[in-house]
């Protein structure tokens, strides 16, 4: 049997009552006046109708309540029941339900609106527990606590984002500046290298010149010596020619005396007559001999006096030459001193330029390192498949410092220094740490706190090693130059 609704049951009861009244009225009619009979029947019908009508209203309300509860089951809290006066318990029920719905609807709207605003990034809205009953109010308070936490979190995130954006801006700015500095330093280092070459060249030429000049000086000295020797010889010659003149005088005297003797002898021979004839011939011969001796002596005297005159002139000339040579020697000595100074200065210049060049290169290496580190940081923001990441993957043999160290000037000029040997370790470490950080960054680090710690550690190690590189470089240049 189909179960009846409450309203149908009541309607049934009312109908039965009406029927019952009509029956009683009908039975009573047997003994009563038919007019009264009609009145009673009408009254029974009217009472029935009234009862039906009065009952119908609460049932409508109950039906409404049912519909409402049905909607509530589906999660809708918007409908209300109105116009329920004079309905006693049914009315109260409706009102109670209305007001429960008011609370529920308010509760859900509060939650909804505040979360909607949160999702739009606006955090000022809190739910309003005021006026809601205990448990709902407490729930809203709890929600407010989480909203507060979310607001704090959002603030924190925004701060972080801000900081990170600034950091990124800063990093790229630093990178730009560093790249400019790097370019400058590269150009300066190149120029310095050229200047250093020129200075070296100058130094060599100065040394050569110095050498040539000192050769000139010694040649000049020899010339001077030779001139002096000539001079002495000349003086000796002069002295000798006057001795010859003396000897010639003596010879002339002898010839004169011989002539006189020959004359005496021829006189004596004449006196002796025939016996003296032969003697006279000898005396004549002697006289002629004396005559020709005298004549020869005269001739020699003439030659010697010419020789003496010439020697005097030569001596004069030689003296003048000596003066000149003396002067030349002074000039050349001055020149030699100047060339010497020049050579010293150019050596000095070359040393300074070389020092400056090394300092420049050291700065360049430092800037390279800063750029390397900045790149490593940029990878954190920009991702691991960027040109920056490529640059970070370079190992410690292939970067500028590495090439310098293992193949270039570094090896040629610095290899003997203790700093040079100290450099390799920390330099390799910088690259190793950079590459390690990069490898971690390629993994899913955002969810993994341990990995995040490792990344931080790698960056920290990179900084630390880089600091040591800088220190070593700072002491390497002074070590090489003995400062």
């Amino acid at each position: 049997m189909k179960r009846l609704y409450l309203q149908t049951r009541y309607n049934l009861i009312i109908a039965l009552l009406v029927l019952y009244s009509l029956l009683i009225a009908g039975l009573g009619a047997l003994g009563i006046d038919p007019l009264w009979q009609g009145v009673v029947a009408l009254a029974a019908l009217a009472t029935g109708l009234l009862a039906w009508w009065v009952m119908r209203m609460p049932f409508r309300v109950i039906n409404n309540i049912r519909t409402l509860l049905g909607e509530m089951r589906q999660g809708r809290y918007t409908s209300r029941i109105t116009r329920v006066p004079w309905m006693g318990e049914a009315g109260h029920l409706a009102w109670d339900l209305n007001e429960v719905l008011d609370q529920l609807e308010t509760f859900f709207r509060e939650v909804c609106t505040s979360f909607e605003l949160v999702s739009q990034g606006r955090f000022y809205r809190r739910t309003l527990p005021q006026g809601l009953p205990g448990h709902m109010a407490r729930t809203l308070e709890r929600i407010n606590e989480s909203l507060e936490a979310m607001a704090q979190n959002a603030l924190y995130i925004r701060e972080n984002e801000m900081a990170s954006q600034l950091q990124q801006l800063n990093t790229s700015q630093i990178m730009n500046n560093l790249t400019l500095t790097q370019n400058d330093l590269m150009r300066i280092t190149d120029e310095m290298e050229k200047v250093s070459g020129i200075a070296l060249d100058t130094m060599q030429k100065a040394n050569e010149s110095e050498h040539s000049v000192s050769e000139v000086v010694s040649a000049q000295n020899q010339t001077l010596q030779l001139i002096q020797q000539g001079n002495e010889t000349m003086s000796q010659l002069k002295a000798m020619s006057s001795e010859i003149t003396q000897v010639l005088g003596m010879i002339t005297e002898i010839a004169d005396k011989t002539n006189l003797l020959a004359l005496n002898a021829s006189i004596e021979a004449a006196r002796a007559g025939e016996h003296g004839r032969g003697f006279a011939v000898v005396a004549d011969e002697v006289k002629q001999l004396a005559e020709s001796t005298k004549q020869a002596t005269e001739e020699i005297r003439e030659v010697v006096s010419t020789f003496e005159r010439e020697t005097g002139t030569m001596l004069d000339n030689s003296n003048r030459m000596m003066e000149m040579a003396d002067h030349v020697q002074q000039v050349v000595t001055d020149m030699s001193r100047q060339f010497n100074e020049f050579a010293t200065q150019s050596r000095e210049t070359h040393r300074s330029v070389d020092y400056a060049h090394d300092i420049c290169f050291a700065s360049l290496v430092k800037v390279d390192h800063m750029i390397y580190k900045q790149r490593a940081y940029k990878v954190f923001y920009g991702g691991t498949d960027t040109p920056d990441a490529e640059a970070v993957r370079v190992d410690h043999h292939s970067c500028r410092l590495g090439k310098w160290y293992y193949e270039g000037i570094g090896k040629q000029q610095f290899a003997g220094l203790s700093c040079y040997r100290q450099l390799e370790g920390p330099h390799a470490e910088v690259h190793e740490a950079g590459r390690t950080a990069l490898a971690y960054l390629q993994e899913d680090w955002k969810q993994d706190e341990a990995l995040q710690q490792k990344i931080l550690d790698a960056y920290r190690q990179m900084e630390e090693a880089s600091e040591r590189v800088m220190e070593v470089i700072d002491c390497m240049v002074p070590e090489k130059h003995g400062h």
Binding site: T78, T82, R83, N98, D102, R109, T113, Y124
Partner: protein
């Protein structure tokens, strides 16, 4: 429907747990009012149902506030306001009101829902001079431009504080 109630100077104060709820259709005609509403305002349900919500509008309220309220709720936003309301007997009561949009099951706006709570006295003290200034501007502007003028002024104030209207009201 304009009411002809003469305002008195008597204030009815809401209790901390008073919770006044009403609903309207899209035109602002009341479709539901809870028992606290009736208790405080002094109206009975038959007088309220179908009536415009301005039945409890107090002449001390600037029209610019309601212009903003309607703009916001028609835009789908919720709106907070401190409102001075008029009882049937001319008394007045301050509420801290929140109006939101009702949606039918298909998601279309179907009406508005409003909850009013006990306001904080400090907030009332803060809005009173604002409302007075708005009223003065409205009187000067003449009936046609009044709401927009006073609303412009209010929004200039908010812009100066760099706050949303709701944010401002909630901060009071």
């Amino acid at each position: 429907m304009k009411n002809r109630v003469t305002p008195t100077n008597h204030e009815v104060r809401l209790e901390a747990d008073h919770f006044i709820v009403s609903k309207t259709d899209l035109k602002g005609r009341i479709t539901y009012a809870n028992r606290v509403f009736m208790h405080i305002s002094g109206y009975r349900e038959p007088e309220l149902l179908g009536a415009q919500h301005n039945i409890i509008r107090h002449p001390d309220m600037p029209r610019g506030v309601f212009l903003l309220l309607w703009k916001m709720i028609q835009n789908g936003e919720e709106c907070f306001a401190y409102v001075k309301n008029l009882c049937k007997n001319g008394d007045y009561y301050w509420v801290f009101a929140n109006v939101t949009v009702d949606h039918d099951p298909s998601g279309q706006p179907s009406g508005y829902f409003s909850v009013r709570r006990q306001p904080r006295q400090a907030a009332i003290d803060a809005v009173t001079p604002l409302y007075q200034e708005m009223l003065r501007i409205e009187r000067e502007a003449g009936p046609r431009d009044a709401p927009q003028r006073s609303l412009d002024w209010l929004q200039a104030q908010l812009a100066e504080m760099n706050k949303d209207y709701n944010e401002f009201v909630l901060s009071l």
